[in-house]
Symmetry: C2
Subunit: 193 residues, 2 copies
């Protein structure tokens, strides 16, 4: 069941007693989204932080010219949300959309605050996952600036082979910051070697 996956993930960061788990349960919601559904829509407040139990989602931004920019993906055991919007309860800059039928465990911002108060170790857990996310995000900035498109693609495909199989190529191009045509060209070029 979804909650098991969640507590299992949680236990890799902090160890909770059964009592502590019971304290958290009332604040954790399970939900299933269908392919194509939006968990968050740009302009609305992001009400949930969602842990992906099963499925695949993308976070993307729609700019003034109507172009999509994929910020990141999330699959099993990753998180999906517009963190800025969720934490400040302000309008979201990003859309979060399911690319497959997706099962999540999620909680609201008020619930998060409650859980922090009831189970201090949960705040520690949350701090740690945010720390990891921040470090990963900075690393991505560094990579994007020091590598060209071909190298970025190669690293991506080595790092996330699962994603490459599950996600349409044009979204990967967007994630890498290049046009879908150019990614196609790069791939055929690489294949010919």
């Amino acid at each position: 069941m979804g909650l098991d996956a969640f507590f299992n993930y949680l236990s890799t960061y902090v160890s909770l007693s059964q009592d502590e788990k019971e304290l958290l349960k009332p604040f954790l919601q399970q939900k299933i989204y269908l392919k194509g559904q939006y968990i968050v829509q740009q302009g609305n407040i992001c009400l949930y932080d969602s842990f992906v139990v099963k499925g695949c989602v993308r976070t993307f931004h729609l700019d003034k010219q109507g172009q999509e920019h994929v910020i990141r993906f999330a699959i099993e055991s990753w998180w999906a949300a517009d963190m800025g919007s969720f934490l400040k309860e302000a309008p979201a800059d990003y859309n979060v959309q399911c690319l497959e039928k997706t099962e999540v465990v999620q909680f609201t911002y008020p619930s998060l605050q409650e859980m922090f108060g009831l189970v201090p170790k949960f705040e520690r857990f949350f701090r740690k996952i945010i720390q990891n996310a921040f470090v990963a995000s900075e690393k991505r900035i560094a990579l994007n600036f020091s590598l060209d498109a071909k190298e970025r693609y190669l690293i991506f495909s080595q790092l996330y082979p699962q994603l490459e199989r599950r996600v349409p190529q044009y979204m990967i191009a967007s994630y890498l910051g290049i046009s879908k045509q150019y990614l196609s060209e790069l791939k055929s070029h690489l294949a010919r070697e």
Copy 2:
């Protein structure tokens, strides 16, 4: 004094009693670095997380071709560290160098753990600043992908006019992900309008 600035900043996130402040003090070190000095060197472990009381530093990565890539700057009330290295006590990917004589308040990773244990509110404070850093980092990724070099420069100069005055232009170019020559060209182009 430096510690006052630090506690003052801290109090914008959580309110501490005098006793709590006294508990933290033994773990907080004040230090002054001269212009050009390195707080962290790529390949070494980043021993400190440093809060900038006064001064200016840059974080940058040196790639295999010997090229510098500025990841970010920090001035008064910002933080400087290679977070990934600091938190995992692993070799740093980045250099952190002072661009001016710089006064910091800093602490080690073991001290941070101690402080979390002694003053739970300090862990909350730390979580909040990491949250902010993460949100800012993701926003930067989004901006970099949806804007061209000229727009990125304009936003930078509007957002951080202080930085533009204090930091050599070629470092700003690097931060923006463009060559120093091209930034120069953009600026003269903009001036002519």
